[in-house]
């Protein structure tokens, strides 16, 4: 279903052409689904003035793995769009905080479900939708609302991505993907919202047709580049989190 191979030989090559100023979505929720290897490659590649989209800037957990916050610390980021600019527990201070407070980096704080739906809408050709989320809060101040059937809703706009960086368990050569358990999270949604979706894959890439059509989580029509993650230490893999101290 097309002659061009989607398989790339290295993470470096797979991110080489990403220009300054790109908007990039990063899959992942806690460890599962985070594209550690692509983030590392992007830090080496050095693109600047990026807009990053993801659940959180990261950095609150140990051991720390490559996250959006590291790109901030690396001076590559103009803006982040995420559901947390601070950690869930106020006593955890994120590395991101000082860059945000100093004004070095801009942030747009979006409720997690609205964030997911804005990207889903971008992929689905819906330019705007109404949601009850955040009505009556600081986030709705000065924004357009509308009463439908007696309830107040906030207007939210689609959020398109230039690139999506995601991680999957299994892929075939056409780019069909399967995720394992909570690895799925934002990954399939970002794939639909992005002009170019780059996937780091846990397992060796299978021939097209090896995944039953009923079992595909993300169709290859949304996937543009595939790279298999090598074994450690060459590849970065999820690790067990250290227990928090109380």
């Amino acid at each position: 279903m097309g002659q061009k191979s989607k398989q790339f030989g290295s993470f470096r090559e797979s991110v080489a052409d990403i220009p300054d100023g790109s908007t990039i979505g990063f899959g992942g929720f806690a460890m599962p689904g985070v594209p550690f290897n692509l983030i590392k490659a992007l830090m080496e590649q050095g693109a600047k003035r990026l807009t990053l989209v993801g659940n959180t800037t990261g950095g609150a957990q140990q051991p720390r793995m490559p996250d959006m916050g590291m790109l901030v610390e690396n001076g590559q980021v103009a803006k982040v769009i995420c559901a947390f600019t601070a950690a869930t527990r106020p006593t955890d201070v994120l590395p991101f905080t000082k860059y945000y407070e100093s004004g070095e980096v801009e942030a747009e704080l979006v409720p997690q479900g609205t964030l997911a739906e804005r990207m889903r809408s971008a992929g689905a050709g819906v330019p705007a939708f109404y949601t009850p989320t955040a009505v009556g809060t600081e986030l709705a101040e000065g924004r357009e609302t509308r009463v439908i059937n007696g309830r107040e809703y906030l207007l939210e706009y689609a959020l398109k991505l230039d690139y999506a960086f995601i991680r999957a368990r299994t892929a075939d050569s056409f780019g069909n993907l399967r995720f394992h358990r909570a690895q799925r999270n934002f990954c399939p949604v970002m794939a639909t919202a992005a002009t170019c979706t780059i996937v780091e894959v846990d397992e060796p890439i299978l021939p097209a047709g090896a995944i039953d059509p009923d079992d595909v989580h993300t169709s290859g029509i949304f996937v543009h580049r595939l790279i298999q993650v090598p074994a450690e230490p060459d590849g970065l893999w999820p690790t067990k989190r250290q227990e928090r101290r109380r």
Binding site: G2, G123, G125, F174, G209, P213, V216, I221
Partner: protein, 224 residues
Amino acid sequence: MSETKGLTRQQMADRMALEFQDGWIVNLGVGIPTMCSNTDTGDRDFTYHSENGVIGYGGVASPEEEDLLLVNAGGQNVTLKPGASVVHHADSFAIIRGGHIDVTVMGAYQVSMTGDFANWKLKGQKGGGIGGAMDLAACAKRVFIILEHVTRAGGPRLVTACDLPVTARGVVKLVSTNYGLFEPTGDGFLLREIAPGLTVDEIRATTGGKLTVADGLKTVQLSR
């Protein structure tokens, strides 16, 4: 359909299919557009998407291959190509509405010189058959139309303005008829290629709006 001049139905589809580029995601409407999948496009290979959520279907199934629960948008039992997948209807139309379809090929009653077209409702009909046509028409990257050049009564189908209710406005990029290959230009149609045995004058007489002719007008090349 009555005997017509110029290209056969399969030839009209063949000419259209030659426009597809390798790797395109293609949605084919029922009728003549479906025949595009029979065209030999050499090294170029496509992913066929169907409104009911089948991505990557292949040819019509032989009796041995037949799966009663695997149909394309025309309700034909089809096969799957390696790399196929299935999604539900909302996700299938998210693919369409999201602009992920490289080309949709549809039949129509009329195409206007401004790129409007009509294919869901006859004159005086109450209701109609929209199906996925309005979503595809409004949202695919390219809308290509295949139709017979003239009505049974001999009137034009390439018209200055549609007098039937339109499916979408200003979207048609290319039209394949039994008389040739055309592009709506806003104030008429550009004849890009002419069918063997037709003359420009015959075409001009049966086409709405101004007919312009491509420099060095070529004849449609037929492989069958």
